[in-house]
């Protein structure tokens, strides 16, 4: 029985509510405008489309959670994936619900504001400071711009702030209760989410782990607590802050891989086994191929390296030039290359050196590890051959050719030994897709290898294949996999050509486990190197601090209406000042404490330290790594670091107010200053808001007036 009367007592922090409403208003109003593709939406949009179509893709810029959140918004809005994301500024058709596409990042961006408010309270500063921090975040033009479009920074910032807030909530909670534990769990979950959105989240996560371990270390040193209690606490923290995020991270990939089950544009980056697990694509081609490669099999051989590009062993009716540009000679035999596209010239026939026939016996005689074979090129009937002639581009290695007998005392050396490198047993059978083989040249014991160097024009810029003596250890460019495979049935050359042109068929299902897929995908994401080139709006980390640069996100097709990523210059300056002030203060305090002067009571000192750990530490871990990175960077990479600084400034003002200023007059002056600064923050927010929201449209002169810095690129049409 419920006790009657039923009474609910609620305590509502009106400031919090007000701030949240304002945040929602600044982030969500007119979210559908402009109804055109804005900046990186063109990048994330294609992934959203692929999610809608459940087509597999690989994006090395970050783990899948961020993309999935964007896709969720699209899914709720009924987006069907039928939009071509080809250029910035393209108008969305009316079928695309732009509002829904942008809703989730905007919500996350709006929620950051109350979170900052709460976080400041958890750092044990007053409501006024909390309000200040919330206002700084609220009126930060760059954060508003970044939240209002289909981009991921606001989501990342939201999860990072949530993680810190819930951890501090846990830490400050007085007794060990279940709610306390659930805050810890929430913190772990948000860490997992933050890392899942962008790899940048790892740094904040590590900082949080650092803070948590410092707290735990203190707990271990607390001798009033029983050993058992300490043990339980440590285990609890370990589980929530380490195990849970890792599991979650894997879970994002699990969801990702189970949603994307169709083959797509990035198939070729993955191993054949991975591709075969996707619907369509390779699996359609390879469905039901015979598993075991036998004498007489017709195969295409794919190199295991995906650098510089996935390709297949290839030959064509063209010979090596008699002399290269460098003046070196060649054998003038038929070229062997590696070709990155499907082609009928990629087909090879596996032949038994001892017999003439090119068809598979019944029953087939499978090839085992260590067997010696010849490889006959299907269309030109040349044998794969190698000899002691320097290769065209890599003169230290042997040339590989399709053998032509020119009667120049250059005998055919066309025997190759099959060496299955991922074999389980010594007599393992060569399997389609699953086996990775090395082809060892019998005469010279060199190994068939993709050197990866593009040939000159005479080789049609295809990639060079060489045979190299094996000194080096395992290298994926030495491995070859049979991808398409069928048992040859025609002995006559003409019929065989017809056979090679016809598609393969039959059915079998080959599954690889989730873990294998996860590891492969993760590895590919980390090692996939994209051509790093400068972008028109890319910038260096040192330019961010003073906001030397901006990014034009969108420009109206005909008018001067435009959206820029430009921060609020005033709050940006305040942030930098407070960073400097904190460091200065901390140095002075530390030196004086070391000499025995305690300027602050212990409680205030702890508060000051934890403020520094979270805010200055957060800024450091989100900024310094960029200095060491060799990537194309943009101003928006600085936004997470900036949020920490906005947290810092009001707290620092409060600290100065309570601890540094003794007389009431100074304190009043300080308050005045703070309110004046807030007012100017608001004014500059208003000044730049046309560039933030894209409306109202400004005249060229007004735009010129907004160009506060010489280096900003603001576009205007002269009429």
């Amino acid at each position: 029985m419920l006790p009657l009367p039923l009474v609910v007592t609620a305590r509502v922090d009106l400031i919090l509510v007000l701030v949240s409403l304002l945040a929602l208003w600044t982030r969500l109003s007119h979210l559908g405008y402009p109804s055109a593709v804005v900046f990186d939406e063109v990048y994330y949009g294609q992934f959203v489309s692929l999610y809608m179509k459940r087509v597999f893709f690989i994006d090395d810029s970050g783990p899948p959670l961020g993309h999935m959140i964007l896709a969720l918004g699209a899914y709720l809005g009924g987006f069907d994936g039928n939009f071509l994301w080809n250029r910035i500024g393209a108008e969305y058709p009316s079928t695309v619900n732009v509002w829904c596409l942008r809703l989730l990042p905007a919500l996350c961006g709006a929620l950051c504001v109350p979170l900052v408010y709460l976080l400041t309270l958890e750092l044990r500063f007053s409501h006024l400071s909390a309000l200040g921090a919330a206002l700084l975040l609220l009126l930060e033009n760059s954060l508003i711009v970044q939240s209002r479009f289909m981009l991921l920074e606001s989501v990342l910032i939201f999860f990072v702030l949530l993680a810190f807030f819930s951890y501090l909530r846990f830490h400050n909670a007085p007794t060990s209760s279940w709610s306390r534990c659930s805050w810890l769990l929430l913190s772990g979950v948000s860490c997992g989410a933050a890392v899942g959105v962008k790899y940048m989240g790892v740094f904040s996560y590590l900082l949080l782990l650092g803070v948590a371990s410092a707290h735990t270390w203190k707990l271990i040193g607390d001798r009033t607590v029983s050993h058992m209690h300490v043990l339980v606490q440590c285990a609890c923290r370990l589980a929530c802050l380490v195990v849970v995020p890792i599991l979650l991270y894997v879970f994002w990939f699990y969801v990702h891989l189970s949603i994307l089950n169709r083959s797509g544009p990035h198939d070729q980056l993955m191993s054949s086994a991975f591709q075969a697990s996707l619907q369509g694509g390779l699996s359609r081609i390879t469905q039901g191929q015979p598993l075991e490669v036998a004498y007489g099999s017709q195969v295409t051989l794919r190199n295991s390296a995906s650098q510089p590009i996935p390709c297949w062993l290839h030959s064509h009716k063209a010979n090596y030039p008699i002399r290269y540009e460098s003046g070196r000679g060649s054998s003038h035999q038929q070229q062997i290359t590696c070709y990155p596209f499907k082609d009928v010239n990629n087909w090879w026939i596996v032949k038994d050196p001892g017999r003439q026939q090119l068809v598979v016996d019944t029953p087939p005689r499978p090839i085992r590890h260590g067997d010696v074979i010849q490889l006959l090129h299907g269309m030109t009937s040349r044998f794969l051959n190698s000899h002691d002639v320097a290769a065209p581009m890599s003169p230290h290695a042997q040339e590989v050719s399709g053998y032509i007998d020119f009667n120049v005392s250059m005998p055919a050396q066309n025997l190759w030994r099959v060496d299955i490198s991922n074999r389980g047993a010594e007599s393992e059978v060569w399997k389609t897709i699953l086996s990775e083989v090395r082809l060892v040249h019998v005469n010279t014991s060199a190994v068939l290898k993709l050197s990866g160097v593009p040939l000159s024009d005479w080789g049609f810029r295809q990639l060079e294949v060489v045979a190299e003596k094996l000194f080096k250890g395992h290298s994926s460019s030495l491995g070859w996999t049979v991808e398409e495979h069928r048992y040859g049935t025609s002995q006559e050359q003409k019929e065989r050509e017809a056979e090679l042109h016809s598609p393969t068929h039959i059915d079998v299902d080959r599954k690889i486990s989730f873990w294998a897929k996860f590891v492969e995908l993760q590895w590919k994401m980390l090692t996939l190197k994209q051509e790093e080139s400068e972008h028109k709006y890319s910038s260096g980390p040192l330019e961010w601090i003073t906001m030397e640069t901006n990014i034009a996100y969108w420009l109206h097709a005909s008018t001067n209406a435009q959206i820029h990523l430009i921060g609020n210059p005033v709050s940006w300056g305040v942030a930098n000042l407070s960073l400097l002030a904190y460091q200065l203060l901390a140095t002075v305090y530390l030196l004086r404490r070391r000499r025995g002067f305690k300027d602050l009571p212990d409680g205030a000192w702890d508060q000051f330290l934890s403020l520094g750990c979270v805010c200055v530490g957060g800024w450091l871990v989100n900024f310094v790594p960029f200095l060491l990175m060799d990537k194309t960077l943009f101003l928006y990479h600085y936004l997470p670091a900036l949020c920490y600084l906005h947290l810092l400034s009001p707290a620092l003002v409060e600290h100065a107010h309570t601890h540094l200023l003794s007389s009431v007059t100074y304190q009043r002056a300080m308050c005045m200053c703070a309110s004046a600064i807030l007012l100017s923050v608001f004014l500059s927010y208003q000044t730049f808001s046309p560039l933030t929201y894209g409306r109202p449209e400004l005249s060229a002169n007004q735009l010129q007036g907004l160009k506060w810095k010489e280096t900003w690129d603001i576009l205007y049409r002269r009429r």
Binding site: G221, F471, G473, H474, S533, L591, R594
Partner: protein, 761 residues
């Protein structure tokens, strides 16, 4: 030196005793007395010893062990030194041909002997010492060192190799002393020294003309002086305190003067010093003036002195190398004019730029190249498919340009001079294309426009026109060759010719990008000077170029070196060694020889030692974790354990920090990395192994009752020694060279020893 030894020895005793909560034993004091009497300054020594003698309430069991440890110290040290000299100098002249990087460093040594200017990415000290060693032993600098495998024949190369080996053989000795100082245990010191003596990698890398033995010598010497200096902390400002402080400074300068990797040991010393100063600051018995004195002393010893020495090294470098050589093009025109034999040395050419002249144009940014073009087009997808224009650091025919008026003009008589504000055309002499720009993105700096070679025989379009602007000049001013800073403004787009300093990919032959920048700020990147100026119709006038002062030269050569270093990017096809390979001993380096008939030397650490190092590193971390948690939790430990955990945390922590500082930064480096970069870190790891294993052995009494722990310790030492020596016996052909079949065939000296597929012997 005897004096120093006595004091330091005494100190080490005193410290050990104070560590054991002053449970000192009379006998140990006697030894210190007896040793000190030989020294004139023994009063101090005795007084201190007496100080210590008073509160002694020690346990005698420990004492005898310690005593046993102390007596053989000198013998052990001699043994270590002798063995390490033997192992390093054995077959030093084999193979009698150029091995691996000897081709660079030997060559540079020769340059010092010939006084020819060259450019290298490393600071000069190492090569200067090599050159000096060669000079002293009668090498005349005439061997060309052109490629690995060249036979030395009659040339005297043993001196340079011997010098490197000599420095290399100091490493085990230093390791012994450092570990002894840190752990106060002869066992630990001996373990560390033994591991280094019998490591094939350390032997190999010390035996050739390389910078690494010299670098490691200075690193270890700096660490040793730092440790010794730390011991002196109870007697600040004494003579030995100053001595060790200054020695740190000297060695730091040496380390940095050999390779920039020396920065890591500077960082180690810096952190140690900061920690030390922090401790002093917290010592409230010291007045602020005292603290300031300490601070000033360290500034002098650890900053000013090394800086001075480092600069002095460069001064010697510039004074010695005064002849023009292969490195000229990397430096500015002004710099080149210092070098005898360079065409700018006492240059003589027409003074003012004129139409019809043939010129070279050099960018004014430091290590900016000459404006260059060649018969190659920009590849598809990179702007317009027109001829490449780049900046090139070497002197070359393709750097020559012709100066033309806007419209082709036939000239007779004295040519007109180019003036500020004139519109000119620059025609590339070899390919007859005009310098051209247009509104396409530049290849790398996307904010700028592309610069190409366009037209044929000097006929192009209006995008070939550039306005000459002399910086700080007015309309009508003449352009002074060599001395004017000139900018070229593109007529049609208004951008300025710019060298971004970014290296183009392979299609651009890894030359430097040239763009046209729409940002008109005056920076050295957009300023150029006319370096060569050939015009037969004008009289040549002897020009004195403003000679740069020493600081400018120093700065310039550093920026050139840094550029060079970051320019060493891994090539696509080269096997690139990754930092995580190194501690695993995953793959070595081939020093000499490939196939069966050649004399092969392969740089690879003794796998037994390296893997032992790695496992010990793991157990060190565990031991420290256990020790610190039990300390934090407040468990009471016996005095012996307390001492052990202090040695682990202080000494071990210092070594671990050294290892981290010499290893982790490589992960962030974009430049090409090699296996031998790990060797300094490996030294720290080995010393850490010494400390950790010794304590591990000594902690056997946690599990066993006496007397078994002592036995265990002794057997442990014996087994360790035997394994190390035996593995050295197995792997010694790697260092001392081998011929015959490769390892995977029977009958090879290394048969059956190819434990990892990735080893290439």
């Amino acid at each position: 030196m005897a004096n120093a030894e006595c004091v330091s020895k005494w100190n080490s005793q005193r410290d050990a005793s104070s560590l054991r909560s002053r449970k000192t034993v009379p006998t140990s004091q006697k030894t210190s007395h007896s040793k000190c009497t030989a020294v004139p300054e023994n009063r101090d020594c005795q007084k201190r010893a007496e100080d210590d003698a008073q509160p002694s309430n020690g346990s005698s069991a420990q004492l005898s062990v310690e005593l046993n440890d102390k007596t053989p110290s000198k013998v052990q040290l001699m043994l270590v030194a002798g063995l390490s000299l033997c192992t390093r100098l054995y077959r030093i002249t084999q193979p009698p041909h150029v091995c691996w990087d000897e081709t660079h460093f030997g060559k540079m040594g020769s340059y010092y002997i010939n006084r020819t200017f060259f450019f290298d990415v490393h600071p000069p000290l190492g090569k200067m010492l090599i050159g000096l060693a060669g000079y002293m032993t009668g090498y005349d600098g005439s061997f060309p060192f052109s490629k690995p495998g060249d036979k030395y024949e009659q040339h005297n190369y043993w001196g340079m190799r011997g010098f490197c080996a000599l420095l290399g053989s100091f490493l085990p000795v230093f390791a012994y002393l450092i570990v002894l100082e840190l752990s106060q245990s002869h066992g630990a010191a001996l373990i560390a020294a033994t591991l280094l003596i019998f490591d094939t990698g350390c032997i190999t890398i010390s035996q050739y003309i390389l910078l690494d033995p010299i670098l490691m010598f200075f690193i270890m010497a700096a660490v040793l002086s730092m440790v010794k200096f730390n011991q002196q902390r109870h007697r600040p400002f004494s003579a030995f305190w100053w001595l060790w402080l200054l020695l740190i400074g000297v060695n730091l300068a040496g380390a940095l003067g050999v390779k920039f990797v020396g920065l890591f040991v500077i960082l180690l010393v810096g952190l140690n010093t900061i920690w030390d100063l922090w401790r002093l600051l917290g010592d409230l018995s010291l007045s602020l003036v005292d603290v300031a004195k300490h601070f000033a002393a360290r500034v002098i010893g650890l900053i000013l002195l090394p800086l001075f020495l480092y600069v002095a090294i460069f001064a010697v470098h510039f004074v010695v190398l005064n002849k023009s050589g292969p490195g000229d093009g990397f430096f500015s025109s002004a710099f080149q004019s210092r070098l005898m034999g360079n065409n700018l040395h006492n240059a003589s050419m027409p003074e003012y730029l004129a139409y019809g002249s043939t010129i070279t144009v050099k960018n004014l940014r430091i290590a900016g190249g000459y404006l260059h073009s060649h018969w190659h087009l920009y590849p598809e997808g990179v702007g317009a498919r027109q001829q490449q224009v780049t900046a090139y650091l070497h002197k070359d025919y393709n750097n020559l340009w012709l100066v033309h008026k806007q419209h082709n003009d036939s000239q007779s008589g004295t040519p007109d001079l180019v003036r500020h504000g004139d519109i000119i055309r620059l025609e590339h002499k070899e390919t007859t294309r005009n310098l051209h720009s247009h509104l396409h993105e530049a290849p790398l700096t996307k904010k700028h426009f592309q610069v190409t070679g366009y037209g044929i025989n000097g006929t192009g379009d209006k995008n070939d026109l550039w306005q000459v602007e002399v910086c700080g000049g007015r309309k009508g001013d003449l352009v002074k060759v060599l001395r004017s800073k000139v900018r070229f403004l593109h007529q049609a787009t208004g951008c300025v010719l710019y060298s971004s300093g970014k290296t183009l990919p392979k299609w651009g032959w890894e030359q430097v990008e040239v763009t046209c920048s729409p940002y008109l700020k005056e920076t050295p990147s957009s300023q150029w000077n006319i370096e060569d100026h050939i015009n037969p119709k004008l009289p040549n006038i002897s020009l004195s170029v403003l000679k740069p002062n020493f600081l400018e030269i120093l700065l310039e050569s550093h920026i050139v070196m840094l550029r060079g270093n970051s320019g060493l990017k891994p090539k696509d096809n080269e096997m690139n060694s990754k930092p995580w390979h190194w501690p695993l001993n995953y793959q070595g380096l081939r020093f000499s020889g490939v196939n069966e008939t050649e004399y092969r030397v392969y740089l690879l650490g003794n796998p037994v030692i390296w893997w032992l190092n790695l496992t010990t590193l793991g157990s060190f971390v565990i031991m420290v974790a256990v020790a610190s948690i039990s300390d934090q939790r407040g468990f009471t430990l016996g005095p012996k354990r307390k001492k052990h955990s202090r040695v682990l945390m202080r000494g071990g922590g210092l070594l671990l920090l050294g290892w981290l500082l010499h290893y982790v930064p490589f992960y962030t480096m974009g430049r090409i990395l090699y296996y031998h970069h790990y060797f300094p870190a490996m030294l720290f790891n080995t010393m850490l192994t010494g400390v950790t294993l010794d304590i591990l052995f000594k902690s056997a009494d946690l599990l066993l009752h006496p007397p078994y722990p002592a036995w265990l310790q002794r057997t442990g030492h014996m087994v360790l020694l035997a394994t190390v020596v035996f593995s050295f016996y197995l792997f010694h052909p790697l260092s001392y060279g081998m011929t015959g079949p490769l390892a995977h065939e029977a009958g090879s000296p290394m048969a059956g020893l190819k434990w990892m597929d990735s080893w290439e012997f």
